[in-house]
């Protein structure tokens, strides 16, 4: 009895979780799907072939979104690695203030900073450019990467580095052959999820890109607001693909001891 109740609750939860994705599959292959038809007139691959053709600009947007997310992630890891190490390993004066600054972008909505940010990047000549959008994406992505890396370093014992150093390794050698292999699993997960935080940004790209940087979510909205449900659905499915792949790769690690890594993920 208790077991079948659990199964039922589990089914309800699973159903609710996939429900909003289901119409996307239907619409992406539909042709002339008017109210009140339960099924489309015709099932076609037209929306998909348009979405994948050069004139729709979808693949180009996919490339731009990938480029921006990759560059943002690389910068966030390079900057966040030393910061995460300092926060994870050491207690120092002002640590609380630094943490406060890192939590700031998670709790202050993007709309609160985006106008001022646009002013700064405009003055720097970066508004409307891909480098400007990358810098803007660092505002949510860098704190995320830093906090995850701090959690990774909190489990790291620096005594191993000292041993390597006392055996004659340079600082770089100690990092390269002792520290890096130890933190690599956590570092990879941090990087993959940092990528997703940038991948799902909307407002920052809209504002800083000033209409000249067309990432996938912006293109998706322009098709959706034009009422092209079929093409929007195809773009939406393409857009969620990398995230699903990343979960498929990291799922085991996340359910295990790395659960804390997902905690800060809030794209």
């Amino acid at each position: 009895m208790r077991n079948s109740l659990r199964l039922l609750a589990g089914l309800a939860l699973a159903g609710w979780l996939i429900l909003p994705i289901l119409p996307l599959f239907g619409w992406s292959v539909a042709r002339g799907w008017r109210f009140p038809d339960l099924l489309p007139d015709r099932v076609t691959a037209e929306a998909w072939s348009f979405a994948l053709s050069p004139q729709s600009g979808v693949l180009q947007s996919f490339g731009i979104t990938t480029l921006i997310a990759s560059a943002t992630t690389l910068l966030a890891i390079l900057i966040g690695l030393p910061a995460g190490r300092a926060l994870g390993l050491y207690r120092f004066r002002g640590r609380g203030l630094v943490l406060l600054l890192l939590f700031g972008p998670a709790l202050l909505p993007g709309i609160a900073v985006v106008f001022g940010l646009h002013g700064i990047l405009l003055r720097a000549g970066l508004a409307g450019s891909i480098p400007g959008v990358i810098l803007a994406h660092l505002v949510p992505v860098l704190p995320y990467a830093t906090l995850v890396l701090a959690a990774v370093f909190a489990r790291f014992d620096p005594a191993y580095e000292d041993q390597a150093r006392s055996l004659g390794a340079t600082r770089w050698q100690a990092f390269r052959s002792v520290t890096l292999p130890t933190i690599l699993p956590g570092l990879m997960t941090a990087a993959l999820f940092a990528f997703l935080v940038s991948w799902s940004q909307y407002l920052l790209t809209l504002s800083i890109g000033a209409g000249r940087v067309q990432t996938l979510p912006l293109l998706l909205f322009s098709f959706a607001s034009a009422g092209r449900n079929d093409i929007s659905a195809a773009i939406a499915l393409l857009y969620i693909l990398p995230g699903l792949l990343i979960v498929a790769v990291t799922a085991r690690r996340i359910t295990g001891r790395g659960a804390a890594l997902t905690e800060r993920l809030h794209p």
Binding site: N3, R6, G10, L11, A14, L19, P20, I21, L22, P23, L24, F35, P36, L38, I79, P82, A83, R85, V98, L100, L101, L102, F103, G104, P105, L107, L108, P109, I111, A112, V113, V114, F115, G116, L117, G119, I120, V139, P143, T146, L147, A151, S200, Y202, L203, P217, F221, A224, S232, A236, G243, V247, A251, I254, A259, A260, T262, E263, H266, P267
Partner: protein, 278 residues
């Protein structure tokens, strides 16, 4: 070691916030405005749209957070047990986390709009004769579609945090209570729930902040009027009338003030609740 990160966040986040603040006081030397004043704040406070939008955004955030937190608590308790299909649900919970909000919002629109999947099912069942008979669940004054989206999107987020917390707590405390004669409900209510509370509150604060300040979700699912506050602020910022710009900045500052209050609450919880994983 911290310098580069502080430089980036100080230079972009804090300076961006500061510049927004200056402009909200109508201090814009480039436009010849060098006398800061509170006119923009006075303007938005006397315009009826602003207070309605603020109220709507607070309603969206409160309702979404409460419903998502309650359901997440139930989901976490369920996923702690073993039952057939648990692995699949765990995967779905994690997969949902990676789906951008705008995709979920479009999915909710296709499901719940007046010509969406559920309206068609209602028509097939003979419950309605046309789209106009189906209750307005999207673009509606109560923001039901927006709340549905946040419940869908944030339930897995809170669930994962609760599951991570449960993992570090273990089941020992509850079994002790049970051997001391507590019922299952008592063990949950007086032992497990208090231990989960810091994590639940911290996660709920993040969800509240997001639901209050997100732009793209009410853009897709929101009513024409009143608009959610972030949409109203963005619209004012792109107004061709330059005088509306400081009003956009003032609205952004009001949103930031709500965010700062949440940050203060969050920081307090983090320092008080050691059970909270960082």
């Amino acid at each position: 070691m911290l310098a580069p990160a502080l430089l980036v966040l100080g230079g972009l986040f804090l300076t961006g916030l500061g510049l927004t603040l200056l402009r909200s006081f109508r201090y814009m030397p480039a436009l010849g405005l060098t006398e800061p004043d509170l006119a923009a704040y006075a303007a938005i406070l006397t315009a009826p749209g602003f207070l309605k939008s603020l109220g709507l955004s607070l309603w969206i955030a409160t309702a979404s957070t409460l419903i998502a937190a309650l359901l997440a608590l139930a989901a976490a308790l369920l996923l702690r047990q073993t039952f057939p299909g648990r692995a699949l649900i765990s995967f779905l919970v994690q997969a949902n986390l990676t789906i951008p909000h705008i995709v979920g919002a479009i999915g909710i629109l296709y499901l719940f709009s007046q010509s969406g999947s559920f309206a068609r099912l209602a028509h097939a069942a003979g419950l309605i004769s046309g789209p106009q008979d189906f209750p307005a669940l999207t673009h509606d004054p109560w923001a039901i579609g927006i709340i549905l989206l946040y419940v869908w999107k944030e339930l897995p987020f809170i669930t994962l945090i609760l599951l991570a917390n449960m993992q570090t707590l273990g089941e020992d405390h509850e079994s002790v209570a049970r051997t001391l004669g507590a019922t299952r409900w008592q063990a949950f209510r007086h032992v497990l729930l208090p231990m989960l509370m810091p994590g639940l509150l911290a996660a709920s604060t993040l969800v509240f902040a997001f639901a209050f300040g997100a732009y793209e979700v009410p853009l897709v699912l929101g009513a024409h009027a009143p608009k959610a506050l972030p949409v109203l602020a963005w619209q004012a910022s792109t107004d061709t009338d330059l005088a509306a710009r400081p009003e956009a900045m003032a609205m952004a500052i009001v949103i930031a003030a709500v965010g700062l209050a949440l940050l203060a609450v969050y920081a307090r919880m983090l320092t008080k609740g050691p059970a909270n994983a960082q």
